[in-house]
């Protein structure tokens, strides 16, 4: 009996408790699965493929190479277009160039407007390097560069999407500016079938520490890619060409920021003829990235490429037609006078940037570059040098005029003759005039490269050098226009 009463009491106690519990609670929470969090300790910063081989490659790139013994080639770097880089950033490239015997010259904004300017310097440069320009090239500059490339010079244009006008100001604001580097570069590259996109390449799946650092393993067939397996670029613009060669290409996961699409995108391309190279990244040349993957090898190859061109120097490159030390030879009837020495001194100074010096040997050397000074007079010593030009000197002509195969018969007064001959890798430049005053004037004209008053054929030119009979006189020169002539403006 008591037991029943206890059970009843317990039931009465439990009833409201159970009722309320069931009113609110319908079960027990069980985590659906073990609560997992990232294994943070396993995520370490990715390290670059900086191997011993990479260092060896970098050192190899800086090693002097005897194979390039010969006249020093000059690589001209542009810094006259508000370029967003400093030469110190290109140390790995300039070191590789110097190791291969090259000279480096920088065209800054002041030198761009001196007597030589860009056009004058391209006369003696082997290659021209433009990095991250932010100011467009003038029409005349573009023409000069096109002429330069057309005559064997090599052009390297490097952009970098991190070198634009955009950035972050002191207050931390992002400020956005047009990517003027792309328009400046594309204007220069227009005639070379190369163009940059206003983008950057990225790869979210396979990269070098960051999505914008792309690893490129697709290589075009060219010595520039010799020995390369992987090149790491650190934010690179994509490059397009129709008929040229894509040099460094990414895989299908390498995408363009412009389209978020990929497949065959390239960060470097060669123009048809391989005289012009467009490269979408600068950072890979800067330490420590120059030692990542095969970057050092690529920089080495770049240096070889820049020095591998063969400039075809012609009279329009005056006075920079020499490739080594020059011996000055004069005819017997020509004696050095003060004015001549001054003109030669000026010529020597003018040739300085090209690394060419003048010497005055007693006898004409059998080899080496020559500067021959003479008058329109028969001279047995110079006969062999002048012979190839088939000149008819006034003394040998019935009408007393100067006969030239290219220009016909001309009145020699106030006229200077310029002849350029090449044999066995040596250059001979011949300057002739009717008298010493005219020769000095011609020397000055050639030395200063002031060739606007000259008519050119491929290897000869006639220049007005005085106030006498000449281009400016009313007396006809008697040119035979049966040749292809070029006015140099």
């Amino acid at each position: 009996m008591i037991r029943n009463r206890v059970w009843i009491a317990l039931a009465l106690i439990a009833l409201p408790l159970a009722g309320r519990t069931l009113w609110h609670y319908r079960g027990f929470y069980r985590p659906a699965s073990p609560i997992q969090v990232p294994a943070y300790a396993e995520f370490s910063p990715p390290q670059p493929p900086l191997t011993e081989a990479a260092f060896e490659s970098r050192e190899a790139a800086a090693e002097p190479e005897g194979a390039h013994a010969g006249p020093q080639k000059l690589v001209l770097f542009d810094q006259s277009h508000s370029n967003r880089f400093s030469m110190s950033e290109l140390r790995s490239l300039t070191t590789a160039l110097s190791a291969q015997g090259a000279r480096i010259e920088v065209l800054d904004s002041s030198s761009a407007f001196d007597e030589l300017g860009l056009e004058g310097r391209l006369k003696y440069a082997s290659s021209f390097v433009v990095v991250a320009p932010s100011v467009v090239f003038s029409h005349s500059e573009v023409t000069a560069v096109e002429d330069f490339v057309g005559r064997g010079g090599r052009l390297l244009v490097v952009l970098d999407p991190t070198r634009t006008g955009s950035g972050i100001d002191v207050f931390g604001f992002l400020f956005l500016a047009p990517s003027d580097d792309v328009s400046a570069a594309n204007q220069l590259l227009r005639s070379f079938d190369l163009s940059f996109s206003d983008d950057y390449l990225y790869n979210l799946l396979d990269n070098e520490g960051n999505f914008r650092n792309v690893l490129l393993r697709g290589f075009g067939d060219h010595p520039l890619t010799a020995g390369l397996q992987t090149v790491a670029l650190y934010a690179a613009r994509s490059v397009q060409t129709q008929a040229g060669t894509l040099l460094l290409s990414g895989d299908s996961a390498t995408l363009s920021s412009l389209t978020d699409a990929g497949g065959g995108l390239a960060a470097a391309a060669l123009a048809p003829g391989a005289q012009t190279l467009a490269l979408g990244d600068l950072t890979f040349m800067t330490p420590p990235y120059d030692a990542v993957a095969d970057n050092a090898r690529f920089i080495h190859n770049l240096a070889e490429y820049l020095l591998g061109g063969e400039r075809r120097l012609n009279l329009q490159d005056l006075p920079f037609v020499f490739s080594g030390p020059v011996s000055v030879v004069q005819s017997d009837d020509f004696s050095l006078q003060a004015e001549t020495l001054v003109a030669l001194r000026a010529m020597s100074v003018a040739l300085g940037p090209a690394g060419v010096s003048l010497s005055f040997p007693d006898d004409a050397p059998s080899d080496g570059d020559l500067l021959v000074l003479g008058l329109f007079e028969p001279d047995p010593e110079l006969g062999d040098l002048i012979g190839p030009f088939d000149l008819v000197l006034p003394a040998n002509a019935e009408d007393g005029r100067l006969g030239t195969p290219e220009f016909g018969s001309v009145n020699p007064a106030g006229i200077g003759f310029v002849g350029l001959a090449r044999a066995d890798g040596h250059t001979t430049l011949i300057l002739l005039a009717s008298d010493q005053a005219g020769l000095v004037s011609l020397l000055e004209t050639v030395g200063q490269g002031l060739l606007s008053d000259c008519l050119f054929s491929e290897s000869t030119a006639l220049c007005q050098i005085g106030e006498g009979v000449g281009f400016g006189s009313s007396e006809p020169l008697g040119f035979d226009l049966g040749f292809e002539e070029t006015f140099n403006d």
């Binding site: 009491a9 409201p16 519990t21 929470y29 995520f43 956005l176 979210l204």
Partner: protein, 286 residues
């Protein structure tokens, strides 16, 4: 229940009092001790940084330590914040989930660090036009090390923390952890791979559902109901955990940079690693 009165002549008032009324009152009394379950709300309507993270963690701890809080809803409207504070809150949420379900309501913006928090919960709701995603890390790289005449230090990075390249690579490690959290949290529901997730895009809620970044479009009410369902509770009450935890309201410290002109920018005050969505187009040069 009927009591056999005829068999129990002694069933008088004493009997009823002793064996019925008292037990019933005891039962009612004990039942009153059974707490009404609570779905706790934790609001984040600011960036995630030291102050807001401390407040969130205090509320999480309250929920964990109080049995009547049977489920929690994170109501997020945040562009994210610092890495360390986001990770701290994320790990606290993970601990809370060992005991109680946590549901996210992505209201407004649940970007970057805020989305990081949401993938650590059991279920994610978003508004149709909420902004969700922006998976990734941002940081301003330190300047290149240099020395100063009047400011001495004992190591090349003492003043700068790390090399620029190191900072960049550390960002990558943080990003990998973030993506791992997304993978673990979303599991098979995630319909896109790393090549899409890691682009750092921010999506509308409606698109985020299709991509598997969130579970369902809904409202705060729906998220509360879902939390209650996961917590197996009914007839619950909803409470703001800030109030329950006794946190002072309306106090915060500046996280975003304010210009001298008083303009509040979307950029943080101090350099560092951030899981933060910075709306673009704040200023452009003419």
């Amino acid at each position: 229940m009927t009591l056999p009165e005829t068999d129990h002549p002694q069933a008088g008032p004493r009997f009823w009092t002793a064996w019925v009324l008292v037990p019933l009152l005891v039962g009612l009394g004990l039942a009153a001790l059974v707490p009404r379950p609570i779905v706790g709300l934790i609001y984040l309507q600011d960036a995630i940084y030291g102050f807001t993270a401390r407040e969130m963690i205090a509320q999480i701890n309250y929920a964990r330590d109080h049995s009547e809080v049977r489920a929690v809803v994170l109501v997020l409207d945040s562009p994210g914040g610092t890495v360390v504070d986001t990770e701290a809150v994320y790990l606290e949420v993970a601990q809370l989930r060992e005991r109680k379900p946590v549901v996210t309501m992505a209201q407004g913006v649940a970007a970057s660090g805020a989305y990081y928090l949401s993938v650590g919960t059991d279920y994610i709701f978003a508004g149709p036009s909420s902004l969700v995603g922006n998976v990734g890390v941002i940081s301003q790289l330190p300047i290149a090390p240099m020395v100063f005449e009047d400011l001495a230090s004992t190591g090349p990075y003492k003043l700068f923390g790390s090399a620029r390249d190191t900072r960049l690579r550390e960002m990558e490690a943080i990003k990998q952890a973030f993506y791992s959290a997304v993978q673990l949290g979303r599991g098979d529901a995630l319909a896109i791979g790393p090549e899409r997730v890691l682009r750092g895009e921010i999506w509308l809620g409606s698109e985020a559902v299709r991509l598997g970044l969130v579970d369902e479009l809904g409202s705060i009410s729906a998220s509360i109901e879902k939390a209650a369902e996961l917590g197996h509770i009914a007839n619950y009450r909803v409470a703001d955990l800030r109030e329950l935890a006794g946190l002072p309201a309306g106090f915060s410290v500046p996280f975003f940079f304010q210009t001298p002109e008083g303009v509040l920018t979307p950029y943080p005050n101090a350099p560092g690693f951030y899981l933060l969505y910075v709306p673009p187009g704040e200023r452009s040069l003419p």
